[in-house]
Symmetry: none
Subunit: 212 residues, 4 copies
DNA sequence: AATGAATGAGAGTTCATTCAT
DNA sequence: CATGAATGAACTCTCATTCAT
């Protein structure tokens, strides 16, 4: 790696290097437990350099959130685009994908989740990137809504307010995963997360599926 | 307001006075955005006095959580105890009650939610009160499970793993509320939370209700 | 013990009660490690009561020093007053007594010793009791000087400046005891304190004894 | 004075700059009477900078002790290495040197002395530097022992346990200086310290010198 | 005389951010 | 561009002393 990132490519690399370090640390120690100096050291740069690429600590955090939402969007959009799949199967796949994301990219998930519950601290600086994240989240939900609409059009599902149902569906998934994080499900509740997901989907689909 | 709290009652009052100040501030500014000095000032006491009643900042926070869980438990236990009500109606009431709690005691809700997602920071100091809160949360869920069991016994619901279902049910509610917190539902999504709750319940109940 | 010490005797008792508690704590935890509240609790009184009997923390400390010097003075004065004993034997007894005091009243010794090395902190408040302590220390040394004079008069010792010699003698004893405190003599140096005392006395007496 | 110390040399200078400020303050106000902020201000840096060079307050203190022991060691080792000097003269020079150190580096002396008598407070944090100081103190005493051995070999002194005698000798010197510190010798006792040292040496040497 | 709740000025330490080099 | 030394406001928690009761 160059000490000085003169080319745009090299600059981008350094930026990602910093982000990678931040991701690991934010995940391990949380936002308040992570110091800029730690990120710099792990990224192999100096403290000042972090500020060369990111306005401040919160912006680093948001960049990670953005990345996370991006990854999840990408995963879901792929699943949804599979041709020759019923809407029901797609919806089921969406849930499974979200679950997979939670497992494979736990770091991102945790980072994305924090934002929602300490909004006053972190959200106050209404920056450019905040809007980007909001936009990406919105289009993610819109994709899911698309599947519902498809299902209704294909008469798989009963007719319902798709936007409401999307939010319910997504909220439910969120709730389950957070539940899993909160209490150590396997230990405390004695039920594993995948089981719960299945149960939840069954419960929902009974409500959505057209009974013929 | 007593200047010196000499009786146990007066001491209790002062303790609550401090807690009330803390509640408002934690809600407004978050845990890390609130300084002990602020709490003291708002409560009309000195910094030292806060430490006379609470061991440290985290204990103040936990006292609030405990209070919140207590209030919610009380609300739900009342609803559940209504005689001559179907299990379905009770479950629906539970959801509505949770929603009401979120509206009326938003401060508590936010405080209770933080704990779950930043466990590394705050949960490390495993104190007495932590166990109390965990216990209360557990018995809250157990109450809900009771309704499900009742429904199955009365043949309202299909036979299912009640503990799993309880967690799914509660997780879903949590998810929906968090969803609402995260994005300002009314503005961004254009759907209000109560609507979503209704939809969610309908969706779930189709899955639970015995079809005859 | 009366809650209210109305009689002078009862007052004196309470004062000593506090002092006893302070002694144990100052010894165990040092001046800065001891809080007034601790002393009060151990003495079975309230914080405020301590201030009823002593002007402040330092005065409590000084009262202990005074008591310590008093005890040591008493011990030495007794030894010195034994009739039919050579001056040399008396001097040797003085040393042995100081050593005994260090062993039996270690608490006092430590308290008395601290004063000398943190003079700026504690000595600044030139109070009544400071003068009393200084006076007692002075008369203690004067007693020792008396033995030396006696020895010269009896032609046991060579003629020397008794006041200088007294200070040298005492300083040497002090030095040895402090040495013992500082390094854990038995462990680090491999020599025990009594041995050192004997050696020191022998060394001194060779210098003092009249060679005939 | 550099604003930013970038070279190792400049850093070392800044470290010493802080230490110099600390020395003056610890001497004047004692350990507990000195605040980090004072040290920073006197050194012309900010509070944070102090912590850039020293882990905490105690480490600053220990660095001073180390420096003090170092200076004294150096002074004594020089005196001892003078060729063509009798062991007796060397021992006498050692005492005089210790006295000189006490006069010229009083600040160090006081700082070094505190450690020994409040071990519970300060010694608990057994750090790297503590061991270094202990080691230096030990080798200082070993140097003095060397002189005694030399004296015995050259038949100047009677044969005795050199390690015991070294400790007695040093303890005596310590005791005398502490005596001087405790009571303001010139004023209260009316004898100056140098006089006492001479007397002490004479007394000891009578005990050590081979009588021929 | 006695209490012990209340005070509030610290005190040490941290760390996001800046800026001289 | 990059560095990393320097900053200093923040922040939690302590504890000698006071004073209302």
């Amino acid at each position: 790696m160059n000490r000085r990132a003169r080319t745009p490519k090299a600059k981008q690399e350094k930026k990602e290097q910093i982000l990678a370090a931040a991701k690991a640390l934010f995940f391990e120690k949380g936002f308040y437990g992570t110091r800029i100096e730690m990120i710099a050291k792990k990224a192999g740069v100096s403290t000042g350099t972090v500020y060369l690429y990111y306005k401040n600590k919160i912006e680093v955090y948001k960049a990670l959130q953005d990345e996370g939402v991006g990854i999840l969007s990408e995963m879901i959009s792929q699943v949804i685009s599979w041709p020759g799949m019923s809407a029901l199967a797609k919806l089921s796949e969406v849930a499974r994908t979200y679950y997979r994301f939670h497992n494979e990219y736990r770091e991102y998930f945790d980072i994305m989740a924090i934002l929602c519950v300490t909004p006053k601290d972190l959200k106050e600086s209404e920056s450019e990137i905040s809007k980007i994240i909001d936009g990406k989240t919105f289009s993610l939900l819109k994709m899911v809504e698309g599947v519902l609409q498809e299902g209704i059009e294909k008469s798989e599902f009963i007719s319902l307010d798709t936007w409401k149902a999307t939010n319910v569906f997504w909220g439910m998934l969120d709730g389950l995963i957070l539940l899993a994080e909160r209490r150590n499900i396997e230990n405390v509740i004695g039920v594993d997360l995948e089981e719960l997901f299945k149960q939840a989907l069954e419960m929902s689909f009974y409500g959505i599926l057209k009974q013929n």
